[in-house]
């Protein structure tokens, strides 16, 4: 309420110059954005900064002495698959190793945070029609975009400051470089999202486009670093994530790289503002084509497929490509020199098993499994979205039982995970050039844990719809545990919180059926509980 009240007062207080008119109301919109994000934003900031700040302590416990660290650095750098995952190591200090181990992923997280914030306050507002009300008041043409970018700036600056302050003990200039690098990556993708939000009419598509650019940036960097131990290949330099790496925090900072980031920021900002100034509120540059005058969709299931098929195709293509890229890299894992105990140790904790190639493949399979957890959560939540948007109401007012309505989406959600993991295994086999059976089996063996996450989503949507989005928090925790748990050497009790921790580490290890069966049963119980809840409760309206 206060934000609305102040909207008017700020707007009336603006001067008459053209720029000021275009930006009128920005301050009020920013306050509105920060107020709406008062929970989400601090959580994101703490997540990004927390990931980084827990790293030095855990690295110290794994690599206690300078000699161990130098050893680790050498073996990591000589292994192209490790470089593909984390980038090259530029120094053997605790700070440099922390920046290597987590800096890139913190940058990716900051980018995701930024794209969510920017799209949420631009295209999503327009799509919902709320922007129309605001733009009809004294709000300038450029104010919404500016407010969204400022909100992203607040979040990135917050994360950057926390990181800089928290890492200062490892060296002030390195801490500053790391904080600036991560925040810079975040802001870069904030402007990418700003452009995407002008191009598309749907918020979902704008987020998807930006995420695709982010994914491409990651693959470029990974491919470049697989080929170069210096971070100097052309592919790395083409990726904004490669710039952050090449800032070389804690290892002779190259400050001039920041100029590159700043230039890209300005360039993308100019494009976004240019586009924003040339279009109508609610419209986009990708025009809408007319559809068929008659429809063939006749069942709730067909409707669910029509709504989700785009996402399924996109995810499938992504999993196939990524599987091929990482399958290809696995061969490099054999390049590792010597039998460095601690390095072997950390890789085996992540991937388990015998032989480093298998360990690498198992690590990758594990990562794909966790990413598929994101798919299943978002796919199940489509049910919730259909309900809260009131599009489900006329469908359920037809001769469609609630279970039948839910089943359409759930078949796509759970069947989709099988498709994704199968395609991923096939992609890895193609990239690796063999072992199709083992890789396919390894990928499919991740399914029970993915289904547990999907089942939890069904339970929340069905039995406690108000808390449905909490699924993201659970998926986030599981991802964090699986992603950084092995490097942090977390206690087994914590690791066990994630369903993924209970799976056999394939390929390489023995297939143990009990956890696979137990997890599948847990998933079945969760889904059944959710469906029972859905049958009994009121439809949200």
């Amino acid at each position: 309420m206060t934000a609305h009240a102040s909207l008017a007062t700020t707007a009336f207080g603006t001067s008459e110059s053209a720029t000021a008119r275009q930006l009128a109301g920005t301050a009020a919109l920013l306050r509105l954005a920060l107020r709406r994000d008062r929970v989400m934003m601090p959580v994101w900031i703490l997540l990004v900064a927390g990931l980084v700040l827990t790293m030095p302590g855990s690295l110290e416990s794994v690599y206690g002495t300078a000699a161990e660290r130098a050893d680790a650095m050498e073996s990591m750098n000589s292994n192209s698959s490790m470089r593909a995952m984390y980038g090259p190591v530029f120094g053997d200090s605790i700070g440099a190793l922390s920046a290597w181990r987590i800096g890139g992923y913190a940058g990716v997280l900051a980018a995701v945070m930024s794209l969510v914030i920017v799209v949420r306050h631009t295209r999503e507002e327009e799509e919902s029609g709320r922007q129309e009300m605001l733009s009809a008041s004294m709000v300038g043409r450029r104010a919404p975009l500016t407010a969204a970018l400022l909100a992203a700036f607040v979040a990135n600056a917050g994360a950057g400051l926390l990181i800089t302050a928290g890492m200062a003990g490892q060296g002030a200039s390195g801490a500053l470089a790391l904080g600036l690098g991560i925040a810079g990556t975040g802001m870069l993708f904030a402007t990418t999202a700003a452009i995407a939000a002008q191009l598309t009419e749907s918020a979902r598509l704008a987020k998807g486009l930006t995420a695709a650019v982010l994914g491409a940036a990651f693959v470029l960097r990974a491919a470049g670093d697989a080929g170069s131990a210096e971070g100097s290949s052309a592919a790395t330099w083409l990726s904004p994530l490669g710039w952050q790496e090449n800032l070389r925090a804690f290892a002779g900072e190259r400050w001039w790289v920041l100029a590159l980031v700043a230039a890209a920021l300005v360039a993308q900002g100019v494009v976004a503002y240019g586009l924003a100034g040339r279009r109508d509120v609610g419209m986009s540059f990708l025009p809408t084509r007319p559809g068929p005058a008659r429809g063939r969709i006749g069942t709730a299931g067909a409707l669910a497929w029509r709504l989700q098929r785009g996402a399924v195709f996109g995810w499938t293509a992504g999993f196939l490509l990524a599987g091929m890229v990482f399958g290809q890299m696995a061969s490099g894992a054999a390049d590792i020199v010597g039998d460095n105990e601690s390095t072997r140790d950390i890789i085996e904790r992540m991937g388990g098993g015998s032989g480093l190639t298998n360990a690498f493949l198992a690590t990758m399979t594990g990562l794909f499994g966790m990413v598929a957890g994101l798919y299943v959560a978002s796919s199940v939540l489509r049910l919730h979205g259909e309900e809260t948007s009131q599009r489900a109401e006329p469908v359920l007012a037809g001769a469609v039982g609630r279970l039948r309505w839910a089943a359409g989406h759930l078949v796509i959600a759970f069947g989709g995970t099988v498709l994704l993991m199968a395609v991923c295994g096939a992609g890895m086999a193609i990239g690796h050039g063999g072992e199709a059976g083992a890789l396919l089996g390894a990928c499919l063996a991740r399914l029970p844990a993915i289904w547990v996450l999907g089942g939890l989503a069904v339970l929340l949507v069905g039995a406690y719809p108000r808390g449905a989005v909490a699924v993201w928090a659970v998926v986030g925790v599981c991802l964090a545990i699986g992603w950084i748990g092995p490097a942090l050497d977390l206690p087994q009790a914590v690791m066990n919180l994630s369903p993924f921790s209970h799976l056999p580490k394939l390929p390489g290890a023995e297939v143990s059926w009990p956890p696979l069966i137990t997890l599948t049963l847990v998933a079945v119980v969760l889904v059944a509980g959710g469906l029972a809840g859905l049958r009994r409760r009121d439809v949200i309206g």
Partner: protein, 305 residues
């Protein structure tokens, strides 16, 4: 006649708000029934209970002789529903949605569908996101009127329609009645209700306050009378059922309870009538009386939907 809808003593709470507090509703088969009430009085909640989307806390509800919660799917083959605020899928065309809604019910009369698309001047090839509010409403209306069903439940269906389309809508409802279908029409457009409805129910704060044919309801309310008299009026103020009496020399204006009209006219005739206008109560006055009562009593329970 059999009942299409019977509701008695329906209760429904959302947390601490009581959306329905013992609501009664009877709709005869084959009639067009108006469902009136201020915003937040519980119309949409009642409709959503009747559709099996909400589960009533207590009370009885029957739709076409069956339980709306337990027999939802079977019932929905015979029911078409138009919400007051139609949300469409952004990337589906209007035509696709019309056919989907139709197939999800008992089926669709294709010839009638095409005829309705033309009458409502709807472009069925446009995508959901490009429709205006009125056009989204038309998508749901075409699907409902073209569906092969026994009962239409329309929840403020004409919000957003222009006057020409409003006329098309009224003709469609009349046709539905001629075909023997039952219509429950929740509306704020009183002229629309007056034109279309055989009977109306007025609800307030989740309770039915009036129910009956318009003639019956009119009888319960006041007629306004304006007269110019030959001599001074006498004794009008003491007559039962007279309200808001204003005497200006020999001009008289007053409101009288319709069942007490007789006595007033007799008293006026005694004074000698030069001219006389008597206006029967409009539905609007009837309705406003309930609205105003609500406001005077301090309308503290404002319930959404």
């Amino acid at each position: 006649m059999t009942k299409a809808i019977t509701v008695s003593g329906l209760h429904k709470s959302f947390g601490r708000t009581h959306a329905l507090a013992g609501l009664d509703l009877d709709v005869e088969a084959g009639e067009v029934h108006g469902f009136l009430g201020p915003n937040g009085s519980g119309k949409s909640t009642t409709i959503r209970v009747l559709l099996g989307l909400l589960r009533a806390d207590s009370g009885a509800a029957q739709l076409l002789g069956r339980d709306p919660w337990h027999d939802a799917v079977a019932l929905h083959r015979r029911v078409a529903y138009v919400p007051g605020d139609v949300t469409l899928w952004r990337n589906l065309s209007g035509g696709e949605v019309i056919d989907l809604y139709g197939k999800l019910r008992g089926g669709l009369d294709r010839a009638r569908r095409d005829d309705l698309v033309e009458r409502f001047e709807l472009d069925p090839t446009k995508k959901g996101r490009t429709y205006s509010k009125g056009n989204r409403q038309k998508v749901a209306l075409v699907a409902a009127f073209a569906s092969d069903v026994d009962l239409l439940i329309l929840d403020e269906p004409t919000s957003g329609l222009d006057p020409l389309m409003e006329e098309v809508f009224q003709r469609c409802v009349t046709e539905e009645r001629e075909r023997g279908r039952t219509v429950l029409l929740s509306s704020h457009l009183l002229s629309e209700v007056e034109t279309l409805c055989d009977r109306v129910s007025i609800i307030r704060k989740g309770v039915t306050v009036e129910s009956g044919s318009l003639a019956e309801l009119r009888h319960l309310t006041r007629t306004s009378v304006t007269a110019e008299l030959a001599g001074p009026p006498n004794g009008l103020a003491h007559l039962p059922g007279v309200h808001d009496l204003a005497v200006e020399d020999r001009r008289v204006r007053l409101q009288v309870d319709t069942d007490k009209l007789d006595g007033v006219l007799r008293s006026l005739t005694e004074a000698g009538i030069r001219s006389l206008t008597s206006t029967p109560p409009t539905l609007e006055e009837l309705f406003l009386r309930h609205y105003q009562d609500a406001a005077e009593n301090g309308d503290e329970t404002v319930v959404a939907r």
